[in-house]
Amino acid sequence: MKPAISVENLAYAYPDGTHVLRGLDFNIAGGSFFIIIGPNGSGKTTLVKIIAGLIRPGQGRVDIMGEPLRAYSRRAIARRIAYVPQQTAMDFPFFVSDAVLFGRAPHLGAFGIESGEDRELARQAMAFTEVDHLAGRRIDQLSGGERQRVFIARAICQAPEIILLDEPTASLDIAHQLRVMDLMEKMKAEKGITVVMVSHDINLAALYADALMLLQRGKLVAYGEPGDVLTYQTLEDTYGCRLLVDESPLGPMPRVTPVPGRYIL
């Protein structure tokens, strides 16, 4: 399948000269579930923001659906890529139904008026992520898991070809983590959407990802199928702690078990 995202020699540094990303080359296949893992500060969030068009890359090339990212207008990117950030502001809490409907924004005319059709799409998106019963609630009144599903519904309502998520399962309990991951799997399978996710949970990543990428200090350490990326040698070198890697009881994917108190300096 042709790549939905293709990245060539991508680098990024902060204005003070600190390198965040250097020389990244990779492709993300259309309709795949792609997960980016790596230690804190390895540049995962920056990479996702560059792909989302929120930050300009320092050098290199990013192609979205075969066209250079630079050639897209702000709204044109928004019609192809939806982004779910780590945190969303809630100082002025909207109703769930409105927050989801906001996903239609890049498809609307000059004054941002939604039609009945847009409302129907929002309703379907809420049904897809099973938050339709929350439509009349305010987003600050929801639990973390419910809120994450609302923001995913907003992203679906945007009708993108690619969805980028930055640690959507952080601070969720294990059942809600699974619900989010299953939702992404369903989105990929039923809607053909390419899912790109940043995650800290290596085991969940191994269970769901079609392809994985391991970053360390802005460099690509390994990238490919979970079984090729998640070897104990690579992981120990990258994270600096003892890890056991064996086969998951659920199937042929790797399972990673951390060993307490054993750091490699």
Partner: protein, 334 residues
């Protein structure tokens, strides 16, 4: 053709606010130091088309221009508060509290002192003053602390205090008859403007209202965070900077004309948000017309409450607004 639900709500909200504004203007035109109550309204209505009545010229020459000015000022200050609250994602932000009105006042006073006549001179100086304080406040809180509510407000309060000191210094240099005028103007004076000034103010601010309404949905998206808004197709930088400049311009010209009127931009958006929710496509027209009506009523109180003469309208708005501000601050910190 079926209108989309949002459009229906915008029309409904605008209609209700127009009725409120119309009622407030009727009261404002018909009541005054010469009489208040139902009788005054009836007399005023019958005097409207009777050139022989003494009320006729009072209404057309004095009260109506003043009511129109109050309406414009109320609309500008309410909308200014709404925009700052959305852009800074801080329900307590307001042009007066952030020190923008104070900076504009310094500019306007300098204009008076160096003898700049005409609107353009004082407006430009007021605008320069307002923009300067805005950038000082935003500069103080830029970067990581930007989102901290308290640091933004504290910076505004301090810049405001500094502006007050500068204003007092400038006044101390002024020893002639202009002193009383400046003092009265400082507290919010709606009696100064004639038809010419009002027309120019309207020409300056009405296009701003349209532009703000045009980007009202972008303001909704900005409330969910800059990155989120950006990822939904909003040109965040252009929208933010453009709105900050536009709002400072509206507020500065208004301050140059009528002086410092505090807390209107806090009270009106807050009440309307309670009534209507946080959708700016409804809040923008509601703030324009509702804020206009609120100011007309405040001015009416300022005119009829004192037994002799009148008081500056800024006294009324501050007496309503300051307690509300304290209440909101307490609630937001708990």
């Amino acid at each position: 053709m079926m209108l989309p639900a949002v459009v229906k709500r915008i029309f409904l909200v605008t209609g209700i606010m127009l009725v409120f504004l119309g009622g407030a203007m009727l009261l404002g035109v018909s009541m005054g130091s010469s009489g208040a109550g139902w009788v005054a309204i009836k007399e005023s209505v019958s005097a409207l088309n009777d050139p022989g009545s003494p009320l006729h010229s009072i209404i057309w020459k004095i009260r109506l221009p003043r009511v129109l000015l109050a309406a414009l000022v109320g609309a500008v200050l309410s909308l200014g508060g709404l925009v700052f609250q959305a852009l800074l994602r801080n329900p307590l932000a307001e042009p007066y509290i952030l020190g923008i009105s104070g900076g504009a006042a310094i500019g306007a006073i300098i204009g008076i002192m160096i003898g700049l006549t005409g609107l353009a001179g004082s407006w430009i100086l007021a605008f320069a003053g307002g923009m300067t304080t805005l950038f000082i406040v935003l500069g103080i809180v830029s970067g990581a602390t930007m989102m901290k509510k308290e640091s933004l407000l504290l910076s505004g309060v301090m810049v405001n205090a500094f502006c007050s000191a500068v204003i007092m210094f400038l006044i101390s240099l002024t020893m002639d008859a202009r002193l009383h005028n400046i003092m009265f103007w400082l507290m919010g004076d709606l009696s100064s403007a004639g038809p010419r000034e009002i027309t120019w103010l309207a020409i300056a601010v009405l296009p701003c209202f349209l532009i703000v309404f045009r980007v009202s949905h972008a303001m909704n998206l900005l409330l969910m965070g800059r990155d989120m808004a950006h990822s939904m197709g909003v040109n965040v930088r252009l929208t933010t900077v453009g709105l900050l400049i536009l709002t400072s311009f509206m507020v500065s010209t208004t301050v140059a004309q009528v002086g410092l009127i505090a807390f209107v931009g806090l009270v009106v958006p807050h009440l309307l948000r309670l009534l209507l929710g946080p959708d700016h496509r409804e809040l923008v027209p509601a703030c324009i017309f509702g804020g206009a009506g609120y100011m007309v009523l405040c001015d009416l109180l300022a005119r009829i409450l004192p037994r002799h003469g009148e008081m500056p309208v800024g006294v009324i708005t501050a007496m309503v607004g300051a307690p509300l501000f304290i209440y909101l601050l307490r609630r937001s910190s708990s």
